[in-house]
Symmetry: C2
Subunit: 248 residues, 2 copies
């Protein structure tokens, strides 16, 4: 098997349909066996809770299929999404039992779980693994920082456009698209979940979606399917620079 050029998605448990990004190409096969020994699959329905804030979590996991959301909630019910996990994303902290946010299945979700304590042992025994996790966590931190700019400074219209662009980009990269002119994809979130992602109300989300449709930036097919006739026109609405953002 020829070696891929990137260290992303280049390893799989023996029977996972996706390849886990957490493990790098240089790992030896023995580690794969060790991973197989401590793993199990879990399936969640759309809307089902995976863990609650404050709960103990005795596993870490890769998302195999579906979409899961991390949300923080205030006592009075105000909610903010703080993470969105797509297939191959990693969930959990090897060294910490509890978690500070709710994790919910947004669509039907399959997780490939690894028992936390043995996984931690595997990390200690396998330098490449913690280096790879460090890389992934730093990428997630960069994404969180872009998200903070969106939450703190962008207008509602820019937030919606940015969100559509982010989803389109992640969707496209999963399908191995390049820099296409037009793009079409399904929204993995309800209007309410989009609102929680963007720090808006669902009414504002709906209104701005309508506005972008009216202005020809997007077309809606049903409630959830989006068609972007010009990716560039969408980009222009995000408030971001035209360059940057090649990486997730």
């Amino acid at each position: 098997m020829p070696q891929k050029s990137l260290a992303v998605s280049d390893f799989a448990c023996s029977d996972c349909p996706i390849r886990h990004r957490a493990v790098c190409s240089r790992c030896e096969s023995g580690e794969m066996e060790q991973l197989d020994a401590i793993k199990y699959y879990r399936r969640f329905e759309a809307g089902q809770a995976i863990v609650w804030a404050g709960d103990k979590m005795d596993f870490v996991a890769s998302v195999v299929e579906g979409v899961a959301a991390l949300t923080q909630t205030m006592e009075d019910g105000r909610r903010q999404m703080v993470g969105l996990l797509l297939p191959s994303d990693f969930l959990g902290r090897p060294n910490r039992e509890s978690v500070t946010y709710d994790v919910t299945a947004t669509t039907e979700v399959t997780l490939c779980c690894f028992r936390r304590v043995p996984f931690q042992g595997l990390i200690e025994a396998t330098p490449h693994l913690s280096q790879r996790l460090l890389e992934m966590t730093l990428d997630e931190l960069d994404a969180a920082r872009e998200w903070m700019l969106l939450l703190g400074r962008k207008t509602a219209r820019e937030k919606i456009a940015s969100f559509l662009f982010i989803i389109a980009r992640r969707d496209a990269s999963l399908k191995n698209f390049g820099g296409l002119e037009s793009l079409s994809f399904d929204l993995p979130l309800t209007r309410e979940a989009m609102a929680d992602y963007l720090g808006l109300t669902l009414e504002t989300v709906s209104r701005q979606m309508s506005a972008l449709r009216r202005d020809g930036v997007i077309e809606l097919q049903g409630k959830r399917h989006i068609l972007v006739p010009s990716v560039e026109a969408l980009m222009d609405e995000t408030g971001d620079d035209a360059d940057g953002g090649v990486y997730s």
Copy 2:
């Protein structure tokens, strides 16, 4: 010298006044020598740029003294702070040359820099180092997620109270305070920088500071020194739960 119980701040370069959190207690002295061999100090004036977004960065660093801010800027000048580095915090990505945000000295800053490429080599040779960096990065990610809740869902007053609480807590932990009733500290940021931190305008920051003073939640001594007569009263204004938040 007796060994401390926590793996935080328990290592120092031979002549750094602070102990770098990035290196753990189990490291052997040979690694300290290796660190010493690739390090150098840099000093920055208040307001001075450390790196610009898009620049190549040939080092990673620990903050030894002072405060540095990470900010993202939009073309039209809107700015959002996305990170605030205090002494012992880590800056940079071992495996990436470029950086996606501006780094600016907020006060006078001293960095203990390590040349990036040799540091990366050291990581590969030293498993504990990447595990420690992973822990620190995950902590930073958790902090970023709380920050996202603040930016997306909190009111201006809650944002200010949360900010004061965060600074007070970090300041107190540096001084090894416990759970004190009252607290006093200096703000490391101007009103404008606070606004960039909180996703507000400087006028709103000023107004809400005045409102908290009027309501007896804080006292101002000069523009920058804050006295909190009741930490609990301040907590009540943040919108957060009374528990959680023992960690930074």
